[in-house]
């Protein structure tokens, strides 16, 4: 008990220095937590994918379409429950900086395959009925202040022209990890227009969403679909939704790696700062440690004092940092929703925060402890400042 009191009193002997160190640690832990959250946000699409959904796309690459006629063929394959399809529209609202995902899809089956997208029943019926209508995510509607019945114009990049849509539905995610910034509209609207302006590009879809009866059959069904279209003009590549989303992320691997490395650098920086504080503290108190030893306290006690103080300071800073992570992440989520539609602090991030703080506290105390233990009592007592 007395030792704990001593550690507490020791920690606040140099109020300014302790204050600065605690501040440094809390900023570092805050930054570390935010960087981990950024990495989580990157993988959010993978987390949200379901095991019983497959994606079939053109084997050459995503920019090549598949013929609409594949739909019925895929539906006949054993193990397939239902099939829907969509096309990446890539339309621009206002200018390039206002990015959000927008695609054309066949609505009824698509929404049935995605039970996590929740639209109120009356809006859902209105969306199905109106071919020129669109359904948008809650966050996206908030960002631009869209209401039901508003008209939105997107400038097509892949499909030329200005496209007008009427918002008939605003969806919410069932779970936290559902992207609420997407914009869906009827594939029929796109197709009818293409028939008029560019007949060669009509009746083509970007990808098929395939719902399977049993998640364990994913591999078999994928092989069956791909085998059916082997050696055709448009060969297919079928993979689980998770693998499909992962393939995007693996292409940006380098950036994730950089963010990961940088999140460790901040820990190293703060380690240097805390180690510096502890080294100075221990140097100033060498005389006191010698007195402790003279009084008969062993090395264990002296080490405990230094480690205790170091851990106390880092933990104090870390708890402030962790508490700050939540409000700051909220601000980040609002500011960066274009880049990261989903930005939630994971419990695992908090555990990592605590682990990093422990590591900093322990390693910062090592060297001063070694010095304090090694010094001979007479030298310690003789030494000045």
């Amino acid at each position: 008990m007395h030792v704990l009191r001593l550690i507490f009193k020791n920690s606040f002997r140099h109020k300014l220095r302790t204050f600065l160190t605690v501040l440094g640690v809390s900023i570092a832990i805050l930054a570390f937590g935010l960087l981990r959250t950024v990495i989580d946000a990157w993988y959010a699409g993978v987390e949200a994918s379901s095991a019983n959904r497959l994606v079939t796309r053109n084997a050459i690459s995503l920019i090549f379409p598949l013929p609409l006629s594949y739909k019925e063929k895929i539906r006949q394959i054993e193990g397939v429950k239902s099939v829907s399809y969509g096309t990446w529209f890539g339309g621009i609202y206002i200018d390039e900086k206002h990015f959000f995902a927008n695609y054309a899809m066949e609505p009824e089956h698509y929404l049935a395959i995605y039970p996590e997208i929740i639209i109120p029943p009356d809006q859902r019926t209105a969306f199905y009925r109106d071919r020129k209508s669109a359904a948008v995510g809650r966050k996206l509607a908030d960002r631009y202040g869209w209401k039901i019945g508003d008209t939105v114009t997107l400038r097509g990049t892949i499909f030329p022209g200005n496209w007008e849509f009427v918002i008939r539905g605003i969806y919410q995610g069932r779970d936290q990890n559902v992207d609420e910034t997407a914009f869906f509209f009827h594939w029929e609207y796109l197709n009818e227009t293409m028939k008029k302006t560019a007949p060669g590009r009509a009746d083509q879809v970007g990808w098929y969403m395939v719902e399977i009866k049993n998640p364990n059959l994913a591999a078999d069904v994928s092989v069956r679909i791909d085998r059916m279209f082997k050696n055709s003009l448009a060969e297919t590549l079928t993979e689980t939704e998770k693998a499909f989303n992962l393939s995007f992320i693996s292409m940006t691997e380098a950036i994730i790696l950089v963010i990961q490395l940088v999140s460790y650098v901040i820990i190293l920086i703060i380690m240097a700062v805390v180690a510096n504080t502890m080294a100075m503290t221990a140097r100033e108190r060498i005389g006191e440690y010698a007195v402790f030893k003279t009084l008969g306290f062993g090395g264990f006690h002296v080490a405990g004092l230094i480690f205790g103080e170091s851990l106390f300071i880092t933990m104090f800073g870390a708890s402030i940092g962790i508490l700050l992570t939540f409000p700051v992440a909220k601000i980040f989520a609002q500011q960066l929703s274009t880049y990261f539609p989903i930005f939630n602090v994971d419990p695992e991030t908090i555990y990592l925060d605590i682990a990093a703080a422990c590591l900093v506290g322990l390693s910062a105390a090592c060297f001063p402890t070694w010095r304090a233990l090694r010094i001979r009592i007479a030298d310690g007592l003789r030494r000045i400042g």
Partner: protein, 388 residues
């Protein structure tokens, strides 16, 4: 009277452990700062050098990139007859109709596919891009399933080396040459005969038409004519502007990321320097008192402590930059969000980045040292001498 410079220097040496730890913290911040700047610089350099100022790219209106664009044969022929197009040494016009598509190919050593650009080229494509040079093998023969690969594709992608073959579009394509395009985006591309590619990918339209201007000043003329022609619905851009636009989102992302990170990190390092300097002042109260008693002015003492802190900054900056300069050996390859294709670029250290990083570390040293130095200079002589 001035306090000698060696006083500040020796003080740092006396407290070696503290100096090393503080400098290490600063060096890490400078390292991150320099690394991000070098990355953004490398990206910009790659994409800006990819284009030439006197080349014009014609793509479909509001299609943003060649991959999304489509130029019909008739439209391409109209472009080819524009009078502003320069003429080559052989008397033919310097214009090329090209097809650009993306295909997914696995990288060597992994089975993870990455999107890369396939460019169908014509005879004049090479001349239009003087930075592209064939370094191995030969050019593909017109009408054959032969391709040439950029040097970074040959190195990093399965089947991209000379003599190897790639399968796409229901055909096997033999790599008969490797080209090097210096520091440009073409290094991450595969080139072949445009008509063969149109057949293989079943795309009846070109993606873009590239031509060289006869005179630089004629850009506005030709741009207006093309964009106002009712048959065309195309837009013309200078090649440099076209590639600059493609890197905007990525460069903005890197900038935001870099500035946020270094700002947060520098707070950590400044705090480290502040702790060190406060301790340096606190440990030397009687020493400062003695110097004041000897007749050194407040100003000199302020200056000496500030110098000590600036030295910490300089050391941190130099060490950080020393390690950052090794980054130039690495090449980063990532997905460009805007074009959706693989792009390889390397960290680039320039004199400006060196100056910025050193300036940044000096600022960190100054901010960390100014308060402690002021405290040291304000000390009362009698109290300071009595303190020990």
């Amino acid at each position: 009277m001035k306090i000698p410079f060696s006083y500040s220097l020796r003080n740092l040496w006396t407290r070696r452990l503290t100096t090393v730890l503080t400098v290490a913290g600063m060096a890490l911040v400078v390292f991150v700062f320099a690394a991000v700047l070098m990355l953004a610089q490398g990206l910009q350099k790659t994409l800006v050098q990819t284009g030439s100022y006197d080349n014009v790219v014609v793509i479909r209106k509001s299609s943003e990139s060649e991959v999304q664009s489509g130029v019909e044969r008739l439209q391409a022929s109209i472009i080819e007859t524009q009078p502003e197009i320069a003429t080559g040494a052989d008397g033919k016009r310097l214009v090329a109709r090209e097809l650009v598509v993306l295909i997914a190919l696995p990288k060597r050593g992994t089975d993870k596919p990455s999107n890369i650009v396939i460019r169908g080229v014509e005879e004049k494509s090479m001349i239009l891009r003087p930075q592209v040079k064939l370094i191995q093998g030969r050019m593909p023969r017109v009408g054959s399933s032969e391709i040439i690969a950029g040097s970074s594709i040959a190195k990093r992608f399965e089947g991209g080396g000379i003599g190897e073959s790639l399968r796409f579009g229901m055909r096997d394509w033999t790599v008969v040459g490797i080209f090097d395009a210096g520091n440009t985006g073409y290094n991450s591309e595969i080139w072949g005969d445009v008509d063969q590619f149109m057949q293989a990918f079943r795309r009846p339209v070109y993606s873009s038409v590239i031509f060289k201007l006869r005179r630089l000043s004629e850009f506005d003329n030709v741009k207006n004519r093309i964009e106002n022609d009712p048959r065309l619905s195309l837009e013309a851009l200078r090649e440099t502007r076209y590639y600059e636009k493609q890197s905007e989102m990525m460069a903005k992302f890197l900038r935001i990321l870099g500035i946020t990170l270094t700002l947060i990190f520098s707070i950590g390092a400044v705090i480290g320097a502040m702790i060190t300097m406060y301790a340096a002042v606190a440990n030397r109260v009687s020493e400062i008192g003695t110097m004041r008693a000897l007749g050194f002015q407040r100003k000199s003492i302020l200056f000496a402590f500030l110098m000590e802190s600036l030295l910490l900054g300089i050391l941190g900056g130099l060490i950080g930059l020393f390690f950052a300069s090794f980054l130039q050996l690495f090449t980063v390859s990532t997905l460009n969000f805007q074009t959706f294709s693989e792009l390889a670029f390397s960290f680039t250290l320039t004199v400006e980045i060196f100056a910025e990083a050193m300036g940044f570390s000096l600022i960190m040293g100054f901010v960390g040292g100014v308060l402690p130095a002021v405290r040291a200079s304000r000390m009362n002589i009698v109290e300071a001498l009595r303190s020990s």
